[in-house]
């Protein structure tokens, strides 16, 4: 028989969302009149901005006419879109990123998952705990066995210190999923200094960058001097423009990224080879929508939607605080990280929220051992649904 890639069998079992669904189903069956409310899922709910809708329709309409139809697109993604990302996301902030350092993709998840394939199978990988499970899972599938866990705790404000031992690849997500913590400039300076000293590469997941409102907080790793030599940044339209289903993202691979001197090709060239071999570009319709999202009008409209989600975050945070819970995150980030009351672990508190308030949350332990004792609550949702769920927690959860 064909043998499978046995690394799949080493994967940590992933029952988080199916277990949540199972418990919700059972509760609903036992309590048919209860109306379940969801504060758990990191999925956008608001319709797309009008100018983005127009951009998508324009992209479709181009395909209807012989003069404007296009098939396979530009190798690294639409050149106009790459120029606009370089300008809006980096140039306006005084950061020099060239369009040929930007690769358009079908979303940050794919790139976050695939980028590790450029590196040695024996590389040592440092990952925050808790963290987005894709970082660990993709490295396990690739056969890597050396992981360094970077603890995110109340004591360090959920932004870890640099590893105390050598790591080759370091995943940092800020604003963080699941904790909602945002790395400060000093935090990121420490990581860049570590990476330069250790010849390591930082994979900077900036998927939630658009939620940063505090002007002192860095929105890109390239705001840190030296980062162009040691960091790859992953960006997305998923949250900023509501493209969770439309699928569009980008990755910045600086041409000056330092790499093993024996390697005759730059990481930028390697990623280009990887993408042109394994991928054939993001949908041209999605790219047309992305271009519209980065016009002044599109940005203005999308800002209003982000404000709506952030107002949800405030409602959740203040609601939980008002019943005496300790909460983190929820400012400059779409996730609120709530500490379970004494005597409850993540699943026990999940059950209590479900039983008493009919609210579905996400147990922090699903994101790694460091998430035990917390719940993740998501600011994505219609404001009236969020308010109803929070009201139910305030009225019904007995602490």
């Amino acid at each position: 028989m064909v043998r499978i890639n046995e690394n799949y069998l080493r994967l940590p079992a992933s029952y988080l969302f199916s277990e949540i669904a199972r418990r919700a189903r059972e509760f609903q069956a036992a309590n048919p009149d209860a109306r379940l409310m969801r504060l758990g899922i990191g999925n956008t709910t608001e319709p797309l901005a009008p100018s983005v809708i127009k951009g998508l329709h324009d992209g479709v309409e181009k395909l209807a006419h012989v003069e404007t139809y296009s098939g396979y697109g530009d190798e690294q993604g639409d050149a106009a879109l790459r120029r606009r990302i370089a300008e809006v996301k980096y140039g306006e902030r005084g950061l020099a990123i060239e369009p040929d350092e930007i690769f358009i993709s079908d979303g940050a998840k794919s790139d976050t998952a695939n980028i590790q394939s450029l590196f040695d199978p024996f590389a040592v990988v440092a990952i925050q705990d808790p963290a987005y499970p894709v970082y660990v899972d993709t490295n396990v599938i690739a056969g890597r066995e050396s992981f360094v866990s970077m603890a995110c705790t109340e004591a360090n404000g959920f932004v870890p210190s640099v590893p105390s031992i050598h790591a080759d690849i370091i995943y940092i997500c800020s604003p963080n999923n699941p904790t909602g913590a945002v790395a400060t400039r000093a935090n990121l300076e420490a990581f860049v200094a570590y990476a330069l000293a250790n010849d390591a590469i930082i994979l900077y997941d900036a998927a939630y960058e658009c939620f940063i409102r505090d002007r002192d907080l860095p929105r890109s790793i390239y705001e840190i001097v030296g980062a162009r030599k040691c960091a790859i940044e992953l960006g997305t339209f998923s949250k900023e423009a509501g493209f969770t289903g439309v699928r569009l993202g980008w990755t910045v691979v600086p041409k000056g990224l330092a790499i093993d001197a024996k390697n005759p090709r730059s990481v930028n060239e390697l990623w280009n080879r990887r993408q042109t071999t394994f991928f054939n570009g993001a949908s041209n319709v999605a790219q047309s929508g992305g271009l519209a999202a980065l016009t002044p009008e599109g940005r203005h409209e999308n800002d209003a939607i982000i404000e709506l989600y952030m107002a949800n975050g405030t409602v959740i945070r203040e609601g939980l605080q008002s019943v005496g819970l300790t909460v983190y995150g929820g400012t400059n980030a779409p996730y609120v990280w709530a500490k379970c009351p004494a005597g409850y672990d993540s699943w026990a508190f999940f059950d209590k929220m479900l039983d008493e308030a009919h609210v579905i949350t996400t147990p922090g332990s699903g994101f790694g051992p460091g998430g035990e004792g917390f719940l993740r609550l998501s600011a994505f949702g219609h404001p009236e649904s969020i308010r109803r769920a929070v009201d139910s927690i305030r009225s019904n959860v007995r602490l």
Copy 2:
């Protein structure tokens, strides 16, 4: 320094299309009045069918309204689309493929590239020569070193015999890129028998299936008894619906696929795990377009576009034959495979076509050593452009 995945350095250099572009550029510079014509590229050129355009617009419009907006989609792709593919592509032909055996993707290229990751790094891989370069390249990047070459020659009508030694994974592309050859039922029966006897898995690339008009030729590997136990099939909307830029495809992983008995999970489950870890679904807009492409109206309209490309194929084939060239393919396939005249290798004949007829083709040697001595010509193009290019070959190429 972080070491890179050194398999990238083992990749065969891929200068085919850049070398074609360089030669075309140089010719144009030396002959500024010449009007270059392209018969080389496998890229769709005709606008999308009206009902598909409507399907795409509908998909966009749903995202504009709170009642119909959707974020992340179903895990294996839109359930309605999977049901329709099961019905239109398999059920109507009497083939029992369940919707949960179908995985929607952003195109056959991604799946063709990624599917190998399910299997052991020491698997022996059989690949046609010549072939679509993605098969070899992705296996080299994954670290595989054992390849079995299956020669496609004039003598075997460019459909190879089964390997004479053991292989674990077998790539078959029919209708074939680049040769335009189509496997008969007997050909595929031999491969299925080989796979079952050798405990091998067939990866059946059916990207050009929609060009098959001859009712005796199989359009799916599942028309062969036993294939559900040994074959994965890759399909796409790229050519059938002009989605080269819209990006939409699917892969069939039968639940009954035989696999190493030690493996506690089916290949279907493994592919689901792979896709939910590395991928987040095809664009919901593209999926809405794909659903429209499989309505009776969409199929009827798309058939007319395919007929147009096939008429191009006839024009190319007959034009080349009329000047005394030996040609293969171009019926039931969008590629014509032209034998170079005595004394010319692929690049020499490419140059002759460029110099004398101002026509750009694709040297067969770019698809592997077995392609040496041939040119690939593509039936994708506007009919008037194809006719002009063929007229130029007839008038100007001195054989």
